[in-house]
């Protein structure tokens, strides 16, 4: 996109026209400076945080055991062990949550943009999604605990965690998807209707593919957020230092929970595990991001 406006000055100054006035050039210069400045300022903390994580965590994850073992049977001060149990937990909880949230979130956004109009339900939905964006994770977790465990009498499990994460993931998906669908030009829809294509097919085949890369960005942001959540896992699944493959029963670790857990550990081994888990999480989410990019490229409408 940006390639198109590579150099506006050149286009705007053929000899027959007057040169761009000084004040406009100054304004342009200031704006350019500000934009570059914002970028440079922002880069500092961003790179700094990442550097901190990498510097402290990278040596830990180089150990092969880290990717293949759990923390079972280790003392707090003993080095060694791995994060396999937590990696598994994070992936499973995150993916199950995504499988539930993504369709719901996208359908809500479709409803709001394509069907809702200015109806009461549409307004109520917008209102509710707004509120949901501000629900702290601990409140979502306590809510699910009350419903799932106190009311239904079901046991704590990774699945309950996923349900709480859904509450955190849906609003992010709805808000981003909604914005992306809104800016799909109406002409596209109208052209499709003109061909006699049903509305639902227009949405599925025209509107969503056009907005796809934006929607995926939103999903990835949401996924990154829920995979980094601690409170729901702590309340709804509990930490297990060993590997638990069962989604529906028993305690299951996750990377952020492992970090919280190791904060109870004053030794150097605990410190290593915290930063190791942090960088592992970053690596996992990066992989998901790359995957999303690949998917969006593959599914994006052909423009050439």
């Amino acid at each position: 996109m940006s390639t198109n406006l590579a150099d506006p000055q050149r286009l705007a100054t053929p000899p027959t026209f007057q040169a761009v006035s000084l004040s406009r050039r100054i304004k342009n210069g200031i704006a350019t400076g500000l934009v570059w400045g914002a970028f440079l300022i922002a880069i500092i903390p961003l790179v700094w945080v990442l550097y901190t994580v990498i510097q402290r965590g990278f040596p830990v994850i180089l150990d092969g055991d880290w990717w293949q073992k759990s923390m079972s049977g280790l003392l707090a001060r003993q080095q060694g062990g791995g994060a396999y149990h937590a990696i598994y937990g994070t992936l499973v909880q995150g993916l199950v949550c995504a499988v539930i949230s993504v369709p719901i979130g996208i359908m809500i956004a479709i409803y709001l943009v394509e069907y809702g109009g200015r109806s009461k339900l549409s307004k109520a939905t917008t209102f509710m999604v707004d509120i949901l964006t501000g629900v702290p994770s601990i409140v979502a977790a306590l809510f699910v605990y009350t419903v799932w465990i106190t009311t239904f009498g079901l046991g704590r499990s990774a699945f309950a965690v996923s349900l709480a994460l859904v509450l955190l993931m849906v609003p992010v998906i709805v808000r981003t998807t909604e914005e992306m669908l809104k800016i799909v030009p109406d002409e596209l829809r109208e052209a499709s209707y003109a061909l006699g294509i049903p509305k639902w097919k227009t949405i599925v085949k025209i509107v969503i593919p056009t907005a796809l890369s934006g929607i995926l960005t939103g999903i990835m942001l949401a996924l990154a957020r829920v995979m980094g959540e601690t409170a729901p896992v702590l309340v709804l699944a509990a930490y297990a230092p060993f590997i638990n493959y069962n989604l529906f029963d028993g305690p299951m670790a996750s990377l952020p929970l492992m970090m919280v857990n190791e904060r109870n550990n004053p030794t150097a081994a605990g410190f290593d595990r915290i930063w190791g888990a942090a960088i592992t999480l970053v690596v996992l989410i990066t992989l998901f991001n790359l995957l999303a990019t690949v998917i969006s490229r593959a599914l994006a409408p052909k423009t050439k």
Binding site: K69, L74, R77, A238, I243, R297
Partner: protein, 370 residues
Amino acid sequence: MKIQRHGAVLGLVAASALLLGACGSDNNAPTGGTNTSSNAASVPVECGGKTKLNAEGSSAQKNAVDAFVQAYQAACPGVDLAYNPSGSGAGVKNFNAGQVDFGGSDSALKEGAETEAAAKRCQTNPAWNLPLVFGPVAVGYKVSGVDNLVLDAKTTAAIFSGAVKKWNDPAIKALNGSATLPDKDISVIYRSDESGTTDNFQKYLKVAGGWTKGDGKQFKGGVGEGKEKSAGVAQAVGSIDGAITYVEWSFAQDNKLSIAKIDSGAGAVELTAESAGKAIDGAKIKGEGNNLVLDLDSIYGSKAAGAYPLLLATYEIVCSKGYDADTAKAVKAFLTVAATTGQAQLADAGYVPLPKAFQDKLLTAVKAIA
């Protein structure tokens, strides 16, 4: 957009999938060499029952439970236990809700709603409070040039309630005759989260130091600055000159804080496993039969020479009866190991091994679980 990048991405994804696909392992036992079971005591452990136990509760005993689990695995191969250090309140709640096999709490079940709910969870049998882990609470400080500080409960209470504001206050000077104390403000650091450590510290001050601010899991001193968790307070004290806090022993040690000696009337006592053990020796039990609820006043108020009275006792809350056979067997096996061979690792982790007399009481109780 570029084919190569796709290839690289797919490769990465595939590689990570393989890594995870190549099933993980729970086996962290050291290959050959020293094993904790070699110095196992003579107590026979009946292994068996459920292979994976669930427990939850106080974070103060988390590192002790890690040690117990290691000993448990050495005694009974193939078993494991998940301890979720989410806090005493959560431990009691989830025990009573039947979500975990036993709870860990830094206070005994409260008579009334809590004991009733626990009895319901144990099929109308009473739940027992077994004080299995004792962790000393250190009064940790950092003042340059001062490393042999002696405090008594009264002065400590004055510091933590803001009555004593300077390090060279006459009250502190009186206890530290020879030391040169700087004319510096005291920065009190307390736990911003609700915690049993705060609760026990305030109870101690109330019993021994005339603390009038009240107890409970919120700090009531009305002075200073709160930081989150033991890790937070220990780090904070380590980074400013003139700071003081109360924190679990292991955190004070690992953050290289100086630890105040406590003078309960019979001379200054340094915090060691031995001096803390002495305080446990003098503890009285106020519960009935095998419900070993401690009379904390007997510890905090202890004036015995050489005893360090500022201790945090954490209970394991178990059903006296009412477990299914598998769970009962595993819980008994775990607690037996914890009270015997598991104790060997405790001193290194900042806890106090149980004195013999106390150990016997606990084993009797554990044996009686059905």
